[in-house]
Symmetry: D3
Subunit: 289 residues, 6 copies
């Protein structure tokens, strides 16, 4: 259960309107690596976490914080949209090509649909969707994703930092950069903690029995693109990071099995060519008996 | 440019048909963490890589290999769909409830749309889409994502391994598990290589000037969910993994700035309440002059 | 079954081309609250209506009319796109920054994909989709949605009215505004009619037995955001609109049950931590016996 | 800014597992009218609300409460998935056709992707997306939508109530039904409050000048579907609900203007037929001069 | 403008309910090749058609007819859903595994969302969307698509024909098969008519000047997959169908230009490696001067 | 299995940057008719092809070639984005309105998300998705689609050709135009080859028994849009292209059956009106007995 207070986590106001930047800022609100993603991802991971204690608490702490970041960016976007020109006539009134550029570079739905406010969409107006998040039940797999999410997020905020001159906007971005620094470090520490606690290890999932995988392919780099530059990296020789194998390098693709030939399909599917009539239904039953 | 040979990278045939499992197998073909994702992700990362040599070659090697995994799973799905019952009458013919269960648990579009073949969709029939991949131009951010992709992928294959008894299917999954082991290790090694080569470091992007972020928030865990379990992890005290700061813990949320009050919007947007008439257009012009 | 006549329901031509406005006009064609939504929503509601007579007829009347609005807007968009500059060179020919702004603010797909015509997309080029409509089988729930659809639609048309100076376009918008006025009123009247006819009432669905809901929570405002401003509205005290209860106000969140602890998951799902091995399959069987 | 406590708003546990119902319950979590929709919708409306005081507080109160409903349903789904059979062999172990039916009616991604947990998707596995919510800046238009959201939501919960026999699940649904009762009433009261406060009225947006719409079409029912049953409703005669007009009925479609003929398109778009060569670019410039 | 009569174009009733088949039938209603696609596609093509006369009339005739097919299938689905079991208890009441299979193979949203009615979705519950249709402005390109749409549609209806034993359903399918036969023939005839009328020819768009394409690659089959089976077809030698060239066959891929090397990116995008600092902004200005 | 060489199939470099055109070029990379579509479509058709020999080889040849086209366009987009202005200040530095127009007409995600590189999206930033491709198992239905794909693709490239003045970009487009010419011809030849080989014929699927369709409707044009212009085409009289029927024309819509009346729905679905209580569940059981 949640409660809300009306203060922002970090207060910053723009010096002036900028509808073009407001469209761009949507990327870190409703884009794949935006705040809606991390907020929902950490909360779902927390709710699905079957291990009470520090991991579950951490996920709910940070997911709840990120909901506050959603709020901060929504508020900033609403402020950046204030006073934007509403038509070409206004945009042209000043003989200022920049004003026209801002008008034509807007997200029109921020005005027509949202009345001058934020939308749960990315910088092109494509809606955020639930496939952006993953809560797999395996904390190490998910913490890896969380490191990435904070890295991609910080990268995007850093890029946006160079796309505006507004001091107030820059101030908010500085705060977000700092939190992304914390969160990158935090998920890295959590990965180490999982190992220290003996809960999971590489290769994920570590509990899958080694004997069940085709181990001859498990530490071998295969060369599928012309040139052998890739043989020069750490990944082509020496010990593998999981401490369980040694990298090798195969300059040619693996030896091939004979080419697969598919049998004719069911006649009632009208594939080409029409298969020989006659029952293949029985095969299903045999397979199950 | 690519060329194709008709052999599969690893040949495995199912012992018998299983349309229900064929639907499930779609998850690792066209789901968020399926083969279409890793193939396209590594290729786009390779094409966008502005650094010739071992990293670009590696990305194209592995992206090209993954296209061959797409092919393997497509072929396996086509084979698993052979001889499936086409209607309830057939499914009921044997008084075998399992046959009925298979029929009702199918993806109908594999028959109606694809004529008994694979589709670029997940285990629920939702189409694969381009937002599943990221090629950010920052190799460390992307290699972190690649570790995750292989970890989530191996986790899903391991789960599928327990969902079938078919020896041929299991054989293919064993091969995929092994390649995912390699690829997890490989991207971990590549992360270390980037650091060794002095190209990137944490927090990503390392080149962003430290002085520009709000450093007081950069190593501090904030407590937003009741209880202080999260204070017990490595992420709440001690040195941070980036070697640049020391974790601290703030049991209460950060001090709050005054609550934001939004001004009235543009009257032509018909928000509530109707704002005072009069020009706010000028503010745009002032801001730009 | 439908028939078509080639006249538009209301004829209006633009005075001149305006590709930038043509992109914006897409919002009320293929956006969430556009004409494709209302046309399909009312027709699906009509086809699913199990009550012959005035309600079914009304739904089919208005759904069919809205198909004609789709046609009007499609035609207007095609006309607004005529003669648009096809490249930057043309857009720059006149040293008119407005022409450049129009060019850069276009929806490129209206030219590349549609050859200078409309698309079933919104003002950002995102395709219309079937989840925009609802036909629930409960007429009162759906008529409420229809009131909203006409209110949001009229709001968007009113906003667009200020985004153009073209007399012909404004003429078409005036007609659409009038029809939205009618349709808002009409669905409000239909809501009242449903009550008068004794078919449905609040809370929807009225037929659900009162005794089956947790009535102590059915008329109580809970305070989850700091501050008690919300206690000042009609919704916090006095009789509720359904005539069946009296509003109350609880300044604190409801009393809490003990925190939930999830048991370990199935070992074959590789969650964290690895659960105690041993059968939980039996529980399914027990629950069903 | 938000804070979280780990108690659920209302605690209820299922008596046993039911993976088939867990899939269905996703509809009110991540479907169009599910809890993710109302939570995000009310919060975005609150953040975009430019009117401090009771309306803004109410939106944030209820949006925050709904986040707690998301949490309740996520937790319930995780519990319902415990102990589900992981393959056909297990599902068949008991000769219980119901067990097989449950297995084949599952959402496979709840296991393969989410490891036995909830997903932000609907009952068919289609992801929740941002277009499900609207925050238009016009409170009356949005409160109408909120009434609908609670009506459609309560309708869906009522239907789900008949799809399970589990006492714990039913208990949670009883609570949700009660809150939906409250919220339907609350938004109805808020609509009235807006009128009482003189902030908005029908037809929405009331501030749009009456003289600018084509008033002859503003209160007239047009007959587009054969039969005149629709003339029998309140919407065809008598005073309109907005108090500003009187309904009339036109049995025939409105008189038609001449059929529109589109001119040939730009030759570089390769439409059919090839248009007369020659400049239409000038028209753009003329229109803007 | 449209008008509607309440008769179906072809009346057929199912003998009994079948919720499992009702889910499958959604494919030809709201799937990629379903009736919503052809109805909207032909209408948009008609509205965008800049050539008055027989082509425009044909498109509007057939698009309008297809709206009636949408209606027929919606009605059939509503009927097939009547009396479906609403929970596992009912489904198990008869010890009939088929009843359980039907229950678990349903689309749950047809009940929870649509109250026992059709939805604008495919057989997996994925919503229809606007990208399914194309109206390019080039009639020959679009009529080719229309042939395909009718071919894929007839193929799907033929497959569905074998998935039911219900005489009433089969009767409706027989009618749809016949109309698809007509429409395949009709669009083939229309392709020929366009050539006869001298409006368009292959390769589409014929009006693009031959001299502007790289003609040495215009009639050559390139061999990119091992084996030379593809050299045995009509497409590898002899006259090409457009009458303008002769097919040739190149067993090896085309000669290659040197490998592309991308220059370093903008430093503010934080790609790897960090590029040499210094201005590349000037290049944009130079290119435009 | 695939292998990759680093040369492009056809090398072309832009003379200078053009971020606005780079956004437009995305249409033929990740749009509905772009290279990702044809590459994946032909490969899936090839993998699903159950007929070894020239057809399967052709599909894999061309699908593999198209992967190389994806690579070419990705590389071109990365080059066109080099040196683009990163903010309004830079865009305004030169008093060049064209520079501002380019800035505001960019796809912002190409910078924020992709760091100055391509994305798997269309010209509006909407992600490519798997529903863009079809591999139906029926080669004639699919080859028809392939002709269309190449026709729509060539049309789009021809339109783009007029949207740029850059000689290097035009050079690449000339190559793509030539390959689209080949591929249109090739799939037309393949359609003829299928007939010559006796594998399939019109109407597709030819193997569906003629006696099972309602033949009286199979060659008749129905007039649903006012005016009889459509009677003047080849499709209204004379022999049909399939050689099996003769076109006829029915000026009036087909005779109508009585209007359908739906029975009341299940009471637990809360439709309007509430149906008579009492069992309709039994009907399901009867239908299955």
């Amino acid at each position: 259960m949640f409660s809300h207070i009306k203060d922002l986590q970090f207060e910053a106001k723009p010096d002036g309107p900028d509808a073009l930047f407001a469209r761009r800022l949507q990327e870190v609100l409703g884009g794949k690596w935006g705040e809606l993603t991390v907020a929902n991802q950490y909360l779902f991971q927390g709710w699905s976490c079957r291990l009470p204690g520090k991991y579950k608490d951490l996920l709910l702490d940070v997911g709840t914080e990120e909901m506050g970041h959603v709020e901060m960016i929504c508020t900033m976007i609403a402020r950046l949209l204030e006073g934007a020109p509403q038509n070409l006539h206004e945009a042209a009134a000043d003989d200022n090509p920049m004003l026209a550029a801002i008008y034509s570079g807007e997200n029109p739905a921020q005005f027509i649909h949202a009345g001058g406010g934020p939308l749960p969409v990315d910088s092109n107006g494509v809606p955020w969707n639930g496939s952006f998040i993953t809560a797999s039940g395996n904390l190490m797999a998910d913490f890896q994703l969380n490191v990435t999410a904070e890295a991609q997020g910080r990268l995007q905020v850093a890029r946006l930092f160079h796309m505006t001159d507004d001091p107030g906007v820059k101030q908010m971005l500085r705060f977000l950069l700092a939190r992304d620094t914390m969160h990158q470090n935090m998920w890295m520490a959590a990965l180490q903690q999982l190992k220290d606690d003996g809960l999971e290890d590489m290769p994920i999932p570590d509990a899958f029995p080694d004997a069940e995988q085709e181990n001859e392919f498990a530490y071998q780099l295969l060369n599928f693109s012309a040139g052998e530059d890739s043989a020069e990296g750490r990944w082509a020789s020496g010990p593998a990071p999981d401490g369980k194998g040694t990298f090798s390098y195969d300059p040619a693709p693996a030896a091939h099995a004979p080419a697969p030939v598919l049998p004719p399909g069911d006649p009632r599917l009208y594939g080409t060519p029409p298969p020989t009539p006659g029952g293949i239904i029985g095969a299903v039953k045999d397979a199950l008996s």
